[in-house]
Symmetry: D4
Subunit: 227 residues, 8 copies
């Protein structure tokens, strides 16, 4: 294991050490294509440097393996998030996370947990989709109080547009792969969001709760004055 | 010009005479790929049989040519509809035609004029899209009184879902090619409509106001008891 | 479990109570992304309110779990439909459900069972596809007697066009994912149906028998005068 | 202009001389991307060798230029076909060319003229599409007498399937770019034809009347025993 | 089981009895979406009528079940073809079946077995793809002697074009789903074949060896004079 | 012209008056599908209410017509932006607008002018794309000082990822339709941006400089504390 | 006009000066989205630095404007290439440029002229496509003598595979947008080339003759030992 | 087993023997669609001829079967490469293989092992993607010393562009299917690479490490003067 002040060289990976300094936040680990052994090496290396670390798209089996070697690791199964926190971050401001339906909750949890890990207070509003729009209207005044809103929706994905048409803060829309037939695993929701006639909304990749949470936190903390 | 009781043989076309009897309504003429001469032949043939005829996607130049030969022909430029009415149809019931924006009006007019030609009363509600949703809510109680609702929208195309989530009659959604970039000439709106989580809505081809108007009329007249 | 007169708050879901009043029919539950526990909570909550409930895309294992807790639940495996009926609806009018082939029957059953649940009489005409068109012609006079026709077809999906060209009531076409190669899991059939040159037909999402059945019932009941 | 017994070298093109011997028929010229000067060179070179030549997708302006230099050249504007015939071919057998609508006629004419140029008798059946299917049934017994049938259709493109389901000879289906919205310039018709559940039909490229005519002639002449 | 002279009514299927008379060949059964019980009913019904029957895309497990009930059934595992022959057909003429690679053989076998079942002599030429084109050239003179050639290829799918450029009979091209990445499960090969600059070739659906074999047999028998 | 406190009813349009109050900013007008007369009506109506108004995707001819009727209207041809300012907004904070190439400048100008109209200070960094990455590195320290960064790029669209990998504030990426071949009018750049492995970046529709500018301004002003 | 040793700052563009040193070759200018004035500024700036410059996708009108201001500029209309050469480069090695048809020549010329500009000897082999494959075989021994081969083809785009299967040097394949229907403006040819079963071939963007010529020259010069 | 000097006839395959002579390198075997028995036949046949052989996309189970019959066979599980080396090749020159992330390593290994098998020295640079671009910059001077660079990347796939913008040798870019959502199994990365504004880079099929390694070796050996 070679090592310099900028990154840790593991051969199969080069862990970014100066990211906290350069970008304000530590590196996140995409667990989907990594072996158990690789994850242990990565989490151990960060731990040694006393750096907080978050792993996304981790499965239960990866967690169990890791837990044996690193008992401090935590796991949220719904959001598939691994965390190892050496230094607690102060949560500030407010991010609202909304979903169109029940099936969108895992992606929403990935977003919410990420925003919390990086230092935001989060409020959740689930199953407020447009087929029964009074459910959304009941909550909209509360939702609008956030600094940033995350709108998570599959199928036709219109939730974000409705919220953006009523809110005065930025909305980050996350299409999900929930649906069937011509939903094309989230493409329909993605296109809906990109073509929204309600301005003040931007979009991330299908099912990418992590980037939504990261971005919302980034904006929320700047607004809260603690970048 | 050969001729039998079922259709008129023009060589380049075979005009369906028994359609009124078989389907309840006369044949419509798709003008886009036809020459001026062909249109004159077709409209004259129907006129001779005393059959009402409607032409869709007709341009102004086609109308002017036709008007010289057949002074009874009428034209609506916005909806690009030609009509030649020998026998007036009684308009019954009510069809509501709504658009998301101003750019969707030509397709909406095609739908509205078609429904009127075949025998429906029509009410128009334009620019009630979701970016300023209070405009729609102001009108929704009135819209819901119709027997069938046509929702015409481009861009993200969410109008139909919102209306279907509030109405108790069937909604026919028409995606339009209005938009740019990832709207892909109406594909985004089409997918939104097909994936709607609000049941009670069906969809027609992009920009196909004619079929929406035809179908809405068909349903409306059955409800009104005058199929 | 918070509760108000408009919906039941379950945290992961908000059950629409005023839908019957607003839209004429109770809410349906999309079971595919729900856990067994969530389904029990949802069905129990509706039962307590004495509201009929229908669940779509339910698998056998979900049914077995639910049946233990709620013995009144019924299941149709072919159509993957769960129902819990507290108050019987009177079936009226007539909806015809046709399929192109044998493989389309599950989607057709979803449509037929849905229409029956919400209050329509249904007649089934299976395997009347166009490769042996005399099979369809044998039945067409009977099919045409319905108030609404549902045409379910995969592969090239031309069934709906043929029927719409001969019937005088509205046709709702359902593309199915039956086929291979360039059928692209139903996209080919979907495009055929959207581009039909036979007017008087509208389309729902690939494999969406539920929406077809819901919509057909909605129209059928209006025609029968019992909306 | 270099020259050998296998091809004529024009620098920008190498004209295939041994094709008649190798494949039974002379080379055809795709005119769309060629300049007037190039066409003159090509047609003159073939003429000098006393070889019949056919040019496809030629526009009127190309014809007029060519006619000045080579007065024997003939042009069919609808089918956009140029021919220069030095040695008349005997027409044999029978090819039937059918279209769904009036807008498909140019592609059908390209097919018919090609088949005639290479040596087939051709019968034309235009506007026999499925929205008024009795028009097709009136003609089907006559159509079935051909050795090969060409079915040309845009929009949903179901014509070929219907015919193939009733005929006992091979059907070559040609999708056309006629249509709008989700017809995607012929893709919808192409997919319909590829996914046909009626066997005994094969497909050529969108708007490729030439290949359909060439192939039908090839098969027809083999059946007639004069390959 | 209702029954008339045109088809056998099984409820879930309507077996086409007059097809032999109408189209010259008996109906084929697409086994992929059928249950074991349905296949037994179908094969038994045809057997009772003394009609030959072929089943495509059948798996080994379907065969084993069927074999117990109908011991006369035969199965070819590579081509996934079930046959039950009551009356032997005389094989005539010649169809050549070629593949680009080894992976294309199952589709080629489906084509070859189908052509043989319906009455053609077949010769097989496997692994003659274009990456080592001398292997094709070694065989081309022999291949060209057939009445029809079937070219089966995945990946880039250029085999058909090369053969069509050298042969004087019709080529039916079958794209296969062999390949990866941008082959998009056969779409790349399909597009190659549709866009071939070598005329005299038509295309069937991806992996549709059955239709290729059926069509080739149809043409071959007409050429042999025994339609 | 009907009128209420929430919107102005023009028949073809319903102008949103309460948007400033509801969302913090006045409505913007999408000029592309509007006639000259409609634009005059709309701009006059807003002017009467003393509300600032911005029109996007306006062409020169529309501007000239409008200028005659409303001499206070301003136009930026590169960004295709019309403005009519009744009440000057104080510009605050800082938004950085970067482009990959020279061809991306019109979209970047749309973004920059929009952000300025709604109240942000803007700095422009043009032609800092990745093929000569030292040009970007020269400017990156200055760019990073902004509260929000807009990255505008066509072709492969990698600019946003590079910047997001180095900056600690949010990046809004705008794909442009600049490019050819497999750029598919901006789809390639759009996909690149959606799939970025650099978190902290969100995406808007192809060529949608307006939404990028609007969103950046929204975030920038919140950070500056003057929402 | 600001200026440093690494690039020239023109505001709308930053001209890369150190590219020759960094990459071995001067920057190329993509003319399609640039105004006449911008091109004059750019070419003048390079000329002042005595740096050779090449402009791609330039139209005749741009050339004429430029020629007035900078009489040393040269233009090749077929390849749409502008050059201004201050210091002649020695041409070395050999690059072979082949086309499938006559319509592919403009892209081939773009490739050939680019390779020559940057320092390669080029031989051209046009119209050697696979529909008359003996034309290619006549030339293949000569073609194989090159250090790199560029294969330019539209429609089905199989030329590159055939050549790569016979040559022992690298082949760079360029799909062109020549074709119609399902060629999808070059996508069919692109997919063919990407899926080639003949290894030793790589692909560039549709119609991107420039990159093919640049890359071939780069490899050719390295082989010739004069990088 | 028939046999001639050009290829070995195995019935299901024709093994190319003259490839070494014709193309400079022996044939490679695509193992994915082959049975264990076929692989044994193929490897044995080559071994008998004393020809080196490489198998790609082989799974562990295929290796284990083969190893029993042919103990000299070697296997690399990560790269899924089987080799049987009868005559060692001298490794020359230098090829650099880089990856964007850890998930891209299997494809990179396929490339590296292929290049080594055919005779190149290879250096590996893994996890140097653009989200932490200083990791790449640390290595770039070393990377640039190679004769050819292979850039392997999934997700947005921008790695190749960045390297090509800094290197003076040719870059072969390999998109991988790593990613999710709108990465469309590698399509996003493929498009990024095709549209790169950095010239001097060409692209191979998604996940096609083999062709990248083969092509890089071909070029590298020519540069090293040992083709």
């Amino acid at each position: 294991m070679k090592d310099n002040d900028k990154y840790i060289e593991l051969g199969f990976a080069k862990l970014d050490l100066e990211r906290s300094q350069r970008r304000g936040y530590p590196e996140a680990i995409f667990c989907e294509c990594k072996t158990n052994e690789q994850l242990v090496e990565i989490f151990s290396a960060f731990k040694e440097k006393n750096t907080n670390v978050i792993g996304t798209r981790a499965n239960l089996e990866q967690y169990k393996y890791l837990k044996q070697k690193l008992p401090d690791v935590n796991y949220n199964e719904k959001g598939r998030i691994l965390t190892l926190v050496s230094e607690e971050i102060q949560k500030v401001g407010e991010v609202a996370v909304c979903t169109g339906g029940t099936g969108d909750i895992p992606v929403a949890e990935e977003a919410a947990l990420t925003a919390e890990f990086f230092g935001s207070k989060v409020k959740r509003y689930y199953d407020v989709g447009i087929s029964g729009i009074h459910r959304l209207f009941d909550k909209i005044d509360e939702i609008k109080k956030a600094n940033v809103i995350i709108a998570v929706a599959g199928m036709e994905g219109a939730l974000g547009s409705i919220i953006a048409g009523m809110a005065d803060c930025h909305v980050i829309a996350v299409p999900t792969s929930i649906g069937y037939g011509a939903s094309f695993k989230g493409v329909s929701a993605l296109l809906t969001m990109l073509n929204s006639c309600a301005e003040g909304m931007s979009v991330v990749n299908i099912d990418n709760g992590f980037n939504a949470g990261y971005s919302a936190n980034q904006i929320n903390r700047q607004i809260a004055g603690v970048k």
